[in-house]
């Protein structure tokens, strides 16, 4: 198939996933409300601790004392990271449950076009809820980000995206073979929630945890986008974050593609692709 046809596959899978998603309005409603509740609990907690929207200690550690904006940007970037990481594996698991995975994989197109369509649909719905989150938080608590820096922040995110997709491919491969991945996803989400600098700067973490945090691409994405949106940093000032991200992009795309192709071959040989 030509590149154009593969792109059409990506777009069609994306559309199909979106149609399916909106067929369960209760899930849609909960998806919209839950991130707001998470933000709310972090903001309420911050207010209880410092009594105002400004923390002098956070300012000393990060050059910004505005913990509401600090936390919201962290949550937004991590939401996108999570949706890319889990989006593909959850969607493949859905195909396994519905009994449509075998027929989907028989289609004469590249597997990764299907996976990308699933990842982008998940990112698109996340984008919608993040927009709602930003609007509501700006109205209720006041969000101080530089909107003019949004294109630079988006560019920074695009630099980080290949590494997220690579990890997503690996997880999708694991799901093909191990099927029931809820425990694994729960464990990994909890671990990421601790290691990623979502509501606190990296310097707060004990050195052992900080070491593992530096091995995770979303850490660099959060730090970079926070610097751009809150501290007005330019991309050229963030080379210390861009260089590791480019390295992770190459590494994870390579690992992700290898793991997925290997796992797919394995389940095809075992004849368990359609099992759930």
């Amino acid at each position: 198939m030509s590149l154009r046809d593969e792109l059409r596959v990506v777009a069609t899978v994306l559309k199909k996933e979106l149609v399916l998603y909106f067929r369960y309005p209760v899930w849609v409603l909960f998806d919209a409300l839950m991130p707001l509740l998470w933000v709310l609990s972090l903001v309420i907690y911050g207010r209880a601790l410092v009594g105002s929207p400004y923390s002098a200690n956070l300012a000393r550690l990060t050059n910004t004392g505005d913990y509401v904006s600090f936390t919201i940007v962290g949550m937004i970037v991590s939401s996108f990271a999570y949706s890319t990481l889990w989006g593909m594996s959850y969607a493949l698991r859905g195909e396994q449950w519905s009994g449509t995975l075998e027929s989907t994989f028989l289609a004469p197109c590249n597997r990764f076009s299907i996976l990308l369509g699933k990842a982008f649909s998940s990112m698109l719905t996340t984008a919608a809820w993040v927009a709602l989150q930003i609007t509501l938080v700006s109205i209720v608590f006041g969000l101080n980000i530089n909107v003019l820096n949004l294109p630079a922040a988006l560019l920074f995110f695009l630099i980080a995206l290949p590494s997220f997709l690579g990890i997503g491919f690996s997880l999708a491969g694991v799901v093909l073979d191990f099927k029931e991945h809820n425990a694994f996803v729960n464990f990994l989400s909890s671990l990421l929630g601790l290691l990623l600098p979502i509501s606190y700067p990296l310097s707060i973490l004990p050195s052992v945890l900080r070491f593992f945090s530096y091995l995770l691409p979303p850490t660099y994405a959060i730090e970079g986008m926070r610097s751009i949106l809150i501290m007005n940093s330019s991309l050229s000032e963030l080379t210390n974050l861009v260089i590791p991200l480019v390295f992770f992009d190459c590494f994870w795309i390579l690992v992700g593609v290898t793991v997925f192709v290997r796992e797919e071959r394995r389940v095809l040989k075992k004849g368990t692709l359609g099992y759930y």
Binding site: Y24, V26, W27, F30, L33, M34, L37, W38, L40, S41, L42, V43, I44, Y45, G46, R47, A48, L49, V50, G51, S52, S55, N57, L58, R60, L61, Y67, T71, A183, N186, F187, S190, L191, G193, L194, I198, S199, Y200, P201, I204, L205
Partner: protein
């Protein structure tokens, strides 16, 4: 009379056997047991790190103005240990009949010649035993990792409050079991309730913060929070264990609320479960999943 007593003993035995079976099934998945014992620390730790980042230590004056105690870490450790029981009511009890449906054993279970609430109590009992184990592991681990300063001499009374809260949560578990039996796929609903409770109940922050931050709306949110058994239980347990804690609800009021919540939730839960079970029996949908 002796016949009644015999029936009661038999029903009790049915509950105990159900509890034993559930514990055995749980222990057959050791990874899950380790997960539930350790993971709550991973959920608690970010709040503690956030606290350190915002105030630069383990004590906060602002927190003290709202809670009496400035030690936000012990406050959060107590909160997350008790929250384990809420998660158990939601994800354990609420889902226990759903798991029987998945296993294809629900129909057989419900035609056994014993009261179905003996089975439900058995399932609830096994959850309480396992959750108590998880809560103790969590409390000890969190105290070792982050440090907690509590009044140990009041521990016995605190445990009594927890028992009262667990009874009230049984009612909520029955209620959810009925709803899940009716609507089958509960993931979205349980996730939402879980997050909502975590946000409006004083797990990590004092109840007064809601009013401080949300004004008039916060007052109504606080009232809703108090209806849920976790809130009065946390207020009472912190009054007993956390030095210099200044509760929003006095211990007498909190215990009264808890007793009322236990009676109301148990009655409503059992009533609703009965109604739903009769309805889906008539539809022949008990085994459908």
């Amino acid at each position: 009379m002796s016949m009644d007593r015999k029936s009661l003993v038999l029903e009790l035995k049915a509950s105990l056997y159900t509890a034993k079976k559930e514990i055995l099934v749980n222990l057959r998945y050791p990874l899950w047991v380790v997960f539930w014992a350790i993971m709550p620390i991973f959920w608690l730790a970010p709040f503690i790190f956030q606290g350190h980042a915002l105030v630069g230590g383990r004590f906060s004056e602002s927190f003290g103005e709202l809670a009496g105690s400035t030690d936000f870490i012990t406050f959060a450790i107590i909160g997350s240990s008790l929250y384990a029981y809420v998660m158990s009511a939601l994800w354990g009890m609420g889902l226990s009949l759903r798991r029987e449906q998945w296993g294809g054993t629900l129909e057989m279970l419900l035609i056994s010649p014993c009261n179905k609430f003996s089975i439900l109590f058995g399932k609830a009992l096994s959850d309480s035993i396992l959750t108590s184990f998880y809560a103790i592991v969590q409390f000890v681990l969190a105290s070792l990792l982050f440090g907690a300063s509590i009044r140990v001499e009041n521990m016995f009374f605190a445990v009594l409050i927890v028992v009262l809260m667990v009874l009230a949560l049984y009612g909520i578990g029955f209620l959810l079991s009925g709803v899940i039996l009716m609507y089958k796929e509960p993931g979205a609903l349980l996730n939402f309730i879980d997050t909502l409770i975590y946000t409006i109940c004083p797990v990590n922050y004092p109840l007064r913060t809601l009013i401080l931050l949300l004004g008039g709306v916060g007052y109504y949110v606080t009232m809703v929070s108090i209806v849920f058994p976790l809130t009065p239980a946390l207020e009472a347990v912190r009054t007993l264990l956390l030095p210099s804690f200044n509760p929003y609800l006095s211990i007498a009021v909190a215990v009264s609320y808890l007793i009322a919540a236990t009676v109301v939730f148990l009655m409503v839960g059992m009533l609703l479960f009965n109604l739903v079970e009769k309805k889906i029996r008539r539809k022949g949908g008990i085994e459908a999943y």
